[in-house]
């Protein structure tokens, strides 16, 4: 039990896991139907990490996540309908359809973004945390990345700066054992936690398949950061049950043995969390989640897409509109044919 932080009810953790699981499954349906054009990076199997982290954070804490982060966002409080709309490229999405499944952000709940450059979200989180420390509201930043990120220079640089400057940032490595097809043991010399420990950051490794374990570890790290104790590093060992990306539904890559996948599926975090609550309550939650997701899918698919002539919107915060791809297009000076330079040549 962490002082000052209420323990989440087992049913809250189950509800979050169930929501993420079914959200991803419904999203895969929308990939198959062609409504989510990009495909997605499903986090099915890793929901306990998101649920445990989300329960340990406040809404006004800041999160920088990665390409497999629908679950983190839902656990942080993002509306499922607006996230699905984002993934389907709708104007009602959390980022008006400009971030998509790969790069969504939701500043209303403190999600700064999902970096596509593996590992480079960690220094962004550190920079945000450095500011939060000076604002004095005991807020923290959290930077989430996978095992594939731990050999990126910028990530290791961010550990150094966070430790030097005592930044309230919690670094979370979701070690799902594969960077796309690359097994972690063929990519990581030494250990993952030793990387953070080398900078003097308290680092520990935990079971990422149990949401209560994730919550306990994250809450302790977050509390330490809020209390001025500086950064922390957590490794959660987990497993994605699906492919790296939905293209694997067709590609059939064979980098994992069927036995291995089956062993991890037997440790399904949804079943573990579900076993901790009464069956009747579980069924009620399932029905509510399904009803919420029915509404979310309906909201997403009924929402309009941005118009093609809005493709340059939001490119600059200052409102600057760049030129288009043809002479004179979006160029105020050449609005009429009689002004066209061809008429003045010679």
């Amino acid at each position: 039990m962490i002082a000052g932080l209420a323990q989440p009810l087992p049913e809250d953790l189950y509800r979050t896991i169930r929501l993420i699981r079914r959200f991803e499954e419904r999203a895969i349906d929308l990939v198959r139907s062609g409504d989510i054009v990009s495909g997605i990076h499903p986090c099915i199997g890793q929901e306990a990490v998101a649920a445990g982290i989300g329960a340990a954070l406040r809404r006004d804490d800041m999160m920088m996540a990665h390409h497999r982060s629908h679950g983190h966002m839902l656990a942080k409080g993002t509306d499922p309908g607006r996230l699905l709309a984002e993934m389907a490229g709708r104007a009602t999405g959390v980022a008006r359809g400009r971030g998509g499944s790969f790069h969504p952000s939701d500043f209303s709940v403190g999600v700064l973004g999902c970096s596509g450059t593996v590992g480079h979200g960690a220094p962004v989180a550190a920079g945000a945390g450095w500011v939060l420390a000076q604002e004095g509201a005991r807020r923290v930043a959290i930077g989430i990345f996978g095992d594939g990120a731990v050999n990126q220079g910028a990530l290791l640089e961010s550990f150094n700066m966070a430790a030097l400057w005592h930044v309230p940032v919690v670094f979370v490595c979701e070690n799902n054992l594969y960077a796309t097809t690359l097994p972690v043991e063929t990519a990581v010399a030494g250990s993952i936690t030793a990387r953070a420990a080398a900078f003097g950051i308290p680092a520990s490794s935990h079971d990422g398949m149990d949401p209560e374990v994730v919550f306990e570890a994250t809450a302790a790290a977050v509390t330490q950061a809020r209390d001025g104790g500086g950064p922390a590093f957590l490794e959660f060992t987990c497993y994605r049950f699906e492919g790296h990306h939905t293209f694997e539904l067709k590609a059939g890559l064979r980098y994992r043995e069927a036995d291995e996948v089956a062993r991890w599926r037997a440790r399904d975090p949804m079943e573990l969390a579900g076993s901790r609550i009464p069956a009747g309550r579980r069924q009620q939650i399932d029905e509510q989640v399904e009803a919420d997701l029915d509404a979310a899918v309906r909201f997403a698919l009924e929402s309009p897409k941005p118009e093609p002539d809005e493709a340059l919107d939001y490119l600059f915060s200052s409102g600057l509109r760049p030129r288009g791809g043809m002479p004179g297009s979006r160029h105020g000076r050449l609005g009429t044919s009689q002004e066209h330079p061809a008429g003045r040549k010679g």
Binding site: A95, L112, H120, G127, W130, A154, D313, P322
Partner: protein, 324 residues
């Protein structure tokens, strides 16, 4: 008022903006000791939290600045050497500059990336002498290249206040420029507005950075022979196309002198747009570094690769002759 130097103008702009807005801070290497002379006196005035000395971790601290901006700050990040901007090109072009659109307008990243020593310095070798501004303009990053101390002051103030990322290039070869400055001369210069340093009627010379001063010298030399208009875009992206068009409406002839490499450099864009959209009576000429130039450590070799006054005079005479 005493003469204002280029680097002192940058120093003044930093100090004034940090005084005006507590969200502004500067980070970089050796800035506590003002190695580049831009941060002189700022540590004593504003303390270590706003003059943030960094380890040599350029990629990490560039992303760090983006995070600080997302949390409400207006960072100025200093890089000592041009190639460091190549090291952090991803962090600027692919991270900081894409937040606005990828967030659907939820957030902005008001970071200024300050390069106080852009371009060649005699003997400093192949890895210290580049002018990578065209790359940033190509990626749609706001990019400024002031030629004078007052423009350096005014454009740095505007860059810091701008809600988008801005790269600020201060050419080494312009550091020696000094101006008599009166109270009231140091004012913000809006991004995207060019400056005609010398009016003329026969040919428009677009010159950037320190080459503005070379162009003015050549224009003076040719006085009586050719009437040269010297136009300094000051901001490379967004470019002041209306300003260029107004000048070409008068002259119909164009020479561009640009310290970029020739292939896909800024000069190519200026010439292409002028030919597509503006009054051009004779084919324009670019004076640039060669394709993929490596200017290195031996001044005799390096100067042969850099745009020169002689080349500019030749180009001006050629477009005048071509039009007759």
């Amino acid at each position: 008022m005493p003469l204002l130097s280029y680097l002192r103008a940058i120093n003044r702009a930093l100090g004034d903006e940090m005084e005006r807005d507590p969200a502004v801070f500067i980070m970089g290497e050796d800035i506590r000791h003002a190695l580049t002379n831009t941060t002189t006196g700022l540590l004593a005035r504003f303390g270590p939290q706003r003059v943030l000395e960094t380890p040599l971790s350029e990629q990490g601290f560039t992303d760090f600045a983006t995070g600080a901006a997302l949390a409400g700050r207006r960072p100025v990040v200093e890089y000592q050497i041009p190639f460091l901007l190549l090291l952090v090109f991803e962090q600027i072009a692919n991270q900081a500059n894409k937040v606005s659109v990828m967030s659907g307008g939820q957030a902005s990243v008001p970071v200024t990336f300050l390069l106080p020593a852009a371009g060649w310095r005699p003997g400093w070798g192949g890895q210290h002498s580049d002018q990578p501004y065209s790359m940033f303009a190509h990626f749609g990053v706001k990019t400024v290249l002031p030629a004078t101390p007052t423009d350096a002051y005014g454009l740095l103030v505007s860059a810091i206040r701008d809600d988008d990322p801005v790269t600020f290039f201060a050419p080494i070869a312009a550091h020696g420029v000094r101006e008599n400055v009166l109270p009231g001369d140091l004012i913000p210069v809006p991004l995207g507005v060019s400056r005609v340093h010398r009016p003329g009627s026969d040919v428009t010379v677009v010159a950037v950075g320190h080459l503005v001063h070379d162009a003015l010298a050549v224009a003076a030399d040719l006085d009586g022979e050719v009437s040269v208009e010297v136009l300094d875009p000051r901001t490379l992206y967004p470019f002041d196309w209306d300003g260029l068009a107004a000048s070409l409406d008068k002259t119909g002839r164009l020479v561009v002198i640009d310290d970029s490499n020739r292939f896909c450099g800024l000069g190519a864009e200026i010439v292409a747009t002028a030919v597509e959209e503006m009054r051009i009576d004779v084919p324009p000429i670019r004076v640039t570094r060669p394709d993929g130039a490596v200017v290195g450590c031996l001044p005799e070799l390096d100067l042969a690769l850099q745009p020169s006054r002689e080349q500019l005079a030749t180009a001006i005479r050629a477009v005048i002759k071509g039009g007759c």
